[in-house]
Symmetry: C2
Subunit: 433 residues, 2 copies
């Protein structure tokens, strides 16, 4: 009797354990449904702090919460370490690389990764930052560049090792460039004997006419000042024309310049997850220019009220005429809305369209500096940084990690020492001098 009742329960399958998928799963804890959360990773990643792993301030485990652990008291929820390869919308099942799973309601929340605007060959020289492996690879490249510069006797080659180029001045690019400035000027100050790390050249290249383009202009100007103070050279209105082994070519107006560099970090261009294309093929969904799925006011796709698309994979333009930004808040709110909608449907209650409440935007620029756009209040400097710090600590999923992150930030603040400066992965020797 009990087991047949369980088998009859409405089956909700969630693909993706990021901010959107996890918030939907959490909100469904007491709903009369059976939840299966599928992810390729065994952890939820707190992506806003990934740049701190890439720059040696935090360890991967500090920003990654095991999904099973987060959901262990959700007795109606299963976590599945698996990769969804196809969505059979007609048959209502998700095809995995090693099995399949049927659903009554599907929530697709597989996010986005970076893109190179058709220049996929650039990826090898200019890695992006979306996964833990990306972050440890970036950390490795940054630290190895200083090691190689210390060993290199040829001044021109040494200068190329000491040149760091960040492409894209959105929040990630600004945060990376700011952290690089701190590494060069503070963290590594006394570490080397042949080079002076503070002479490193850190370039932030942005095609728009200002840094942090989605922010109000006064905050962009404030961010520019803070970056300059950290020794970051800003090149706005500059387009990347080519990236090859050892050099980046940029164009500013009529002028084209090729800059020798051994470290290029990519923080531009977003491309939605390939499951979007799957939904276009199998369920007739419409995609936008970067592959996001255009959704209805209730976050479903036309003709498929049983399929929700949320987070960075979704294009919800009903509220402002523009898609919601690809940050944590829209995904979290959409996840909660979808969970509530599923419950209301089961109770045959009225369903309101999704309404996003913009709580504002925050970006940090090194030590004790940030910009905050709360809509009703715009702040920069220490006050914005305090808000940034508080909000980020609050949203880290596990309590232990909140303490560990706070402790490491306090340490970083007072000593400017980044302890997670490990070069890990494949043997880096001999150095490519």
């Amino acid at each position: 009797m009990g087991s047949s009742k369980v088998a009859d329960k409405h089956r909700v399958v969630i693909i993706g354990g990021g901010f959107g998928g996890l918030s939907a799963a959490k909100r469904l804890k007491h709903a009369p449904v059976q939840v299966t959360l599928i992810d390729r990773c065994n952890y939820h990643l707190f992506q806003p702090l990934l740049y701190q792993v890439a720059t040696g301030a935090l360890s991967p485990a500090n920003i990654a919460a095991p999904l099973r652990n987060v959901l262990k008291n959700h007795r109606n929820t299963k976590v599945l370490l698996a990769e969804a390869t196809r969505i059979d919308a007609a048959g209502r099942r998700v095809i995995l690389s090693d099995g399949e799973i049927p659903y009554d309601t599907l929530i697709v929340a597989t996010g986005a990764s970076h893109q190179y605007f058709g220049h996929d060959a650039w990826e090898k020289f200019a890695p992006g930052l979306k996964t833990v492996e990306d972050a440890t690879d970036m950390r490795r490249r940054i630290l190895l560049a200083f090691e190689a510069a210390e060993r290199e006797r040829d001044p021109a080659k040494c200068a190329a090792w000491m040149t760091f180029i960040v492409v894209g001045a959105g929040p990630t690019g600004v945060e990376l460039a700011g952290a690089l400035g701190e590494i060069a000027h503070d963290t590594l100050k006394h570490d080397f004997r042949n080079i002076n790390p503070s002479q490193a050249s850190i370039l932030l290249v942005e095609a728009a006419d200002r840094v942090l383009p989605p922010y109000p202009p006064p905050l962009s100007a404030a961010a520019r000042k803070m970056l300059a103070r950290l020794g970051v050279t800003i090149r706005t209105g500059a387009t990347v024309m080519n990236i090859e082994d050892g050099a980046v070519t940029i164009r500013e107006g009529e002028r084209t310049e090729t800059i020798p560099t051994r470290t290029i970090l990519w923080a531009a261009g977003v491309l939605a997850s390939p499951l979007g294309r799957m939904l276009a093929q199998e369920a007739g969904a419409t995609l936008d220019r970067v592959g996001r799925v255009v959704v209805e006011p209730d976050l479903t796709i036309p003709g498929h009220p049983e399929i929700f698309v949320i987070g960075d994979l979704s294009n919800f333009s009903h509220q402002t005429g523009k898609p919601l930004p690809g940050v944590a808040q829209p995904a979290i709110q959409a996840g909660r809305y979808v969970a509530k909608t599923i419950e209301r449907r089961l109770r045959v209650e009225k369903i309101e369209p999704f309404h996003y409440v913009d709580k504002g935007n925050l970006a940090t620029i090194g030590r004790a500096a940030a910009v905050a756009d709360l809509g009703w209040l715009r702040l920069s400097g220490l006050a914005a940084w305090m808000i940034w710090l508080f909000v980020h600590l609050l949203y880290i999923v596990q309590f232990q990690n909140r303490l560990l992150v706070l402790m490491q930030w306090a340490w970083l603040y007072f000593t400017r020492d980044r302890s997670a400066r490990l070069i890990t992965g494949k043997n880096p020797l001999p150095l490519d001098l």
Copy 2:
């Protein structure tokens, strides 16, 4: 004048930034010498806690201190990220994979790795634990085994995923088996829906007739009891005959048994670093059965008073007739002795032979349990664990890491939660079901 004085300074080259090499470098801070410390890694690794990274209790950065950071205030010391491939004893220079470096005095401290007693094919199925990469690979295998068991429908295959075999019951094997017991019984208790992690079978296989063979028999008996309490099955007097994909064959007396398992952890067999063979070829050094360099009472090699060999790579048998154990204390004391000897030689003072002071041995067996053999005092249980905890915290090189480790241990003690449970590295999907 100043620069010619520097150029004339006695050049000390240290290969290896482990306990031996680092303690020599630290002790030479104020000596009138030029020190170069060469290591393949950019960090000093606190190897005694590596098993805690392998079992998800700590992050790699918590037990790794960047060598440049540790030695940043040693103005007479350079750190070189490089691999020593050859020692030219006649020409007094170390050949690197990307250069060379001359020395007046050489300290070789490159340690040891694990060996498979001629069965190198076993390594693929039974990885050892010597590097950060080994530890994250072991963590990945342990966590993926539970994930695969959760997915596997075939009971026999599921049982093989739920069987963990640790080969070798020295301190590392005992500590790994104890931590596995805790993971199965406590950490993962509520994480799965199809399997019960506490039904995992954890086997500790040892050829000798008791666990912790170098310890006094009463402490071995105590360790055995503590391991049994954690659900570890102990097979002493058992020899590993074969390891293949999915199974281990062991022999106990006349009886041979093949045990299906998907996770085999190797904690047996030590093999000295290949630089020992180099010293045999180039400087006529004598090696013992496991490749260690037999050293004189002053830790030099015969005929080469300018070459010291210390730590796990050295066989110093003058004190007890047996080589010193391959743990941190003999390496640290030898490093300090060599530094002092170099200073005394420069001052043309009398040199005493090396004398090792045995401060005792400690091994931990899970939560609040350990054995301690301090020579004059033998302890097991909580008291031994308190000593273990205090000593290990004390010897962690960086103050920040001491705090981070203490905090994570306190968390582990009270909640039994291991937060660093990330499956990282190459894409693990599809699972090998």
